[in-house]
């Protein structure tokens, strides 16, 4: 086994996971450096949940390597797990226990428990220690879960769709404790989310998975800058879509051809001109548009009857 590395919180090498004939993770090489907030996005079925189940040692891989905080994921010891905080969208906690009892149990479990971190985060919510977990609202449960995870002083905090289904106020409280609290200052955060609005606000780094492979790892603004939107006045239907370089999305609106393209500079204008464009314009896109255009590109669609 190789030496535990401290530079990367997550490292996979040629990681594969096969369910029957389907590859959920396809030769995935991923290295997430220590520190900051890393957003992981991907369409449903891109392999995010499988990846985290393997990394946390809940599921064996078919082949390849997976390490978390420098440890082999399949051989995590309780003290390794103590260094990792995990909050998922379900916020599954025993509903029949009181908030205080759950907190006491966790305090007992984790050697590095920081009561002040727990109090700081839970202070954002109107939660009483004698309340039953089952009586908490979804937002309160999310906050309680985050408080528990941060109180264990994790080096790595994995958040899987943590704000799904939360109202605006609960969402804001959640982001505030994550971004500005002292509790989260020392840890690396992995933030899985479909909500680009949040990703844009919180992420230092944008990791995009597609069909079990890594397709982007860069600052969100750098990714956005790779995508541009062109509008051209082209005769007839325009060029064959298969010949359009870097094409992510196209649409014909009011007789004008709209293209969202990846990694195309001014040369794309030359392409359109050669295709007979009478006029054209280009503009930058929002992060949301860039990511969604990118993910829509290879989205499976039923075979169309009319192409036969």
């Amino acid at each position: 086994m190789s030496e535990p590395s401290s530079d990367f919180v997550i490292e996979t090498e040629a990681l594969c996971k096969r369910y029957g004939n389907k590859l959920a993770l396809d030769d995935l090489d991923l290295r997430i450096p220590r520190g900051r907030i890393h957003a992981v996005v991907g369409a449903n079925g891109a392999g995010k949940s499988t990846l985290f189940r393997i990394l946390l040692g809940f599921l064996p891989q078919t082949s390849g390597q997976a390490r978390i905080l420098g440890r082999d994921s399949s051989a995590l010891k309780p003290e390794d797990r103590g260094r990792i905080g995990f909050v998922n969208e379900e916020h599954t906690l025993p509903g029949w226990m009181t908030v205080g009892a759950v907190a006491a149990m966790q305090r007992h479990q984790y050697a590095l428990w920081r009561q002040e971190a727990f109090d700081e985060v839970i202070g954002h919510y109107h939660v009483l220690m004698e309340q039953k977990v089952g009586q908490l609202s979804r937002g309160e449960r999310a906050g309680f879960n985050l408080a528990l995870a941060l109180a264990q002083s994790p080096e790595l905090l994995v958040l899987d769709e943590p704000t799904l289904g939360l109202d605006v106020v609960a969402k804001r409280a959640f982001l505030e404790s994550l971004l500005y609290g002292n509790a989260a200052e020392q840890c690396t955060v992995i933030y899985c989310s479909h909500q680009m609005e949040e990703v844009e606000r919180v992420a230092d780094n944008l990791v995009i998975l597609e069909h079990g492979r890594l397709v982007n790892m860069s600052a969100p603004d750098d990714f956005r800058a790779r995508v541009s939107h062109w509008i051209a006045d082209l005769p007839f239907k325009g060029p064959d879509p298969r010949s359009v370089p870097g094409l992510l999305e196209q649409q014909r609106l009011d007789g004008l051809q709209h293209y969202v393209v990846l990694d195309q500079g001014e040369a794309f204008g030359d392409f359109l001109r050669a295709a007979g464009a009478r006029s054209m314009q280009s503009m930058p896109v929002s992060l949301d548009r860039a990511v969604n255009g990118f993910l829509a590109k290879n989205h499976a669609a039923p075979a169309r009857e009319d192409v036969r």
Binding site: L179, A203, D221, P284, L287, D288
Partner: protein, 136 residues
């Protein structure tokens, strides 16, 4: 003890401009219209990040750009302040940007079909409205 100046700015997600760029533009506008005067202290990185609910690194990046361009200056251990104005652009660049801005303005306004004299009068008023804040 002097407090930082309140910075009343808005950012929007889903905008083609990155959030850090939106902050840079907004601060430059405040300085250009003298809502922020030389010597005014900017909010802390953490404070502004919290006000806007964004990652503090995004604010730090915007502040670094503004400092690099000479709009802000840092005072050791005290924070960031609006710098004393000096001409930050070459004459050619200023000329080019003015041409650009006028071009865009004329394009927008021409379709509205106002007599040029009326448009000029309105512009004059807008500039006069900026003036008092400058001396305040």
């Amino acid at each position: 003890m002097a407090r930082p100046q309140a910075l009343m700015i808005q950012i929007a997600t889903g905008d083609p401009r990155p959030i850090s760029k939106q902050i840079v533009d907004a601060v430059r506008m405040k300085i250009a219209t003298a809502e922020l005067a030389p010597g005014d202290q900017l909010p802390s990185v953490r404070g502004l990040a919290q006000q806007l609910t964004v990652n503090p690194n995004t604010v730090a990046k915007a502040y670094a750009e503004l400092t690099g361009e000479g709009w802000l200056e840092s005072r050791q251990g005290l924070g960031l302040y609006v710098a004393t104005p000096r001409q930050r652009l070459s004459d050619a660049e200023r000329e080019r940007r003015l041409d650009d801005a006028i071009g865009r303005f004329v394009n927008d306004v021409i379709a509205l079909d106002y007599p040029p004299g009326e448009v000029q009068a309105r512009l004059e008023l807008e500039f006069r409205a900026l003036a008092p804040r400058r001396s305040a």
